[in-house]
């Protein structure tokens, strides 16, 4: 629960159906759709409330209660045998008409059981779809952010080119300081050994380069990366690229191989 503490109090309320803020309820349900840890915590909270219910046990119902239940059970229809599905055309004989109410009851019971099973199936499906919807929303949000950054001419753009010989690898960065988001689009990058990655560095107005994400090119030398800086609002003087051990470095350990084009 460490990374989900913002939901902790709301989860406890949700476990006993006491959360009534529609916005909080919606956010929590969406989160539960994607977070197994919080779903497990919800189960634990429900178990805690079950213990609470146990504190009320003690009094016994009067004897007539058992008798009443057994009589009600005896009066309940049970074990519906599903008839073969068959349509019969023609006039019903009168003796069959006498059985019509029973037949209707049987059919209704079958339909009820079917609907109950369908309800359970739909509930399971609904939970799955909720999780998928949240995932799609997350991807959609990322796509929107990418498009916003590409289409926003006011954001600082830099094109980094290879320092040495052609074919020139090219890296374009788009940076949104207020959110700390860096979008990187690259092509013509050389392939690296398995234990190496490219690492993007944000060069701030003052201070040391800051890691801005690692990336590896696809088979054609291209790639796209979206990185969120640890801190928002950093003003960038430039970006640079180095080759680092897989997993990235906290500070550059090799020479800058790509820097802003002059």
């Amino acid at each position: 629960m460490n990374q989900h503490t913002q939901y902790a109090d709301a989860l406890a309320l949700y476990a006993m159906d006491a959360l009534d803020d529609p916005r909080e309820l919606r956010e929590l349900q969406e989160h539960l759709g994607t977070c197994g840890e919080c779903r497990r915590e919800l189960e634990s909270l429900r178990a805690d409330t079950a213990l609470l219910a146990f504190s009320a046990t003690g009094p016994k119902p009067p004897q007539r209660s058992r008798q009443r239940l057994m009589e009600a059970i005896a009066a309940e229809p049970r074990h519906v045998v599903k008839p073969k599905s068959r349509f019969v055309l023609g006039r019903l004989q009168s003796r069959w008409l006498a059985l019509a109410p029973i037949a209707v009851s049987v059919i209704l019971a079958i339909i009820s059981i079917g609907l109950m099973q369908e309800s359970l199936r739909l509930r399971n499906k609904n939970e799955k779809l909720t999780a998928e919807l949240v995932d799609m929303r997350s991807k959609s949000q990322l796509a929107r952010e990418v498009m916003d950054m590409i289409n926003d001419p006011s954001l600082p753009r830099m094109t980094l080119v290879g320092v040495k010989t052609p074919p020139q690898p090219q890296v374009r960065t788009i940076y949104k300081p207020e959110k700390g988001h860096v979008l990187l689009l690259a092509n013509n990058l050389a392939q690296l050994p398995d234990d190496k990655v490219y690492e993007l560095w944000l060069i701030p107005q003052q201070g040391a380069p800051m890691p801005a994400g690692t990336f590896t090119p696809d088979s054609k030398g291209g790639t796209m990366m979206m990185h969120a800086m640890e801190t928002e609002g950093i003003q960038a003087k430039a970006f640079a690229v180095t080759v680092e051990p897989r997993g990235g470095s906290r500070e550059p350990t090799s020479e800058i191989m790509m820097e802003p084009a002059s």
Binding site: A47, L51, A53, A56, K60, S65, R66, L69, M116
Partner: protein, 181 residues
């Protein structure tokens, strides 16, 4: 409810299998084992013996109609019935139509509730923990669980900020969990 009857998971599975096969005497056995749990919770919430009896009837009849609702592999019968009894009682208290479908999430407490003696020990322990809670925590938790009030309603009644009410309820539940850890 007999104090000598023990309900292991295997016995609960056998009981449910009998109910599924239409054995009415199995419902009698089930009632003998768990009616105290259901009735106690209903009486605590509703404070009225007639209404509590109605909840007992409703809960057991629903289980008779739909025994598949209890999944023997995912929880134990006693806490499951206790939670259903609480939820149906709150429905009645708040004049909401009772759920017709008994299907509820499985409850797995990890606490020994296998016979009446174990259940009594657990109930006494919960009451002791509740008695040791700060009064305002206990009150907030009881208002939410046994009176079915939402956190907004509790804040309105106690005059406390919403955030305080939420934190108190969770803290009380955590104290309960810790006592049984």
């Amino acid at each position: 409810m007999s104090g000598t009857q023990v309900s292991t998971p295997k016995e609960e599975a056998a009981l449910i299998a009998r109910i599924r096969s239409g054995d009415e005497s199995a419902m009698g056995d089930l009632y003998d084992r768990y009616s105290g749990v259901v009735y106690g919770v209903a009486l605590r919430v509703l404070g009225n013996t007639t209404s509590a009896e109605d909840v007992v009837q409703e809960v057991f009849l629903q289980l008779w109609r739909n025994p598949q609702a209890f999944d023997v592999d995912r929880g134990r019968m006693a806490p499951w019935l206790a939670v259903i009894a609480r939820n149906r009682s709150i429905d009645l208290l708040r004049k909401r139509p009772m759920e017709e479908d008994i299907d509820e999430l499985p409850i797995s407490t990890g606490v020994n509730l296998e016979d009446e003696a174990a259940q009594k020990i657990a109930a006494d322990k919960v009451r002791a923990v509740m008695g040791q809670l700060p009064a305002e925590q206990r009150k907030a938790l009881e208002m939410a669980y046994f009176e079915g009030l939402t956190h907004t309603e509790i804040a309105g009644r106690t005059g406390e900020p919403l955030g305080t009410v939420k934190t108190r309820i969770r803290s009380a539940l955590m104290a309960l969990r810790k006592a049984f850890a």
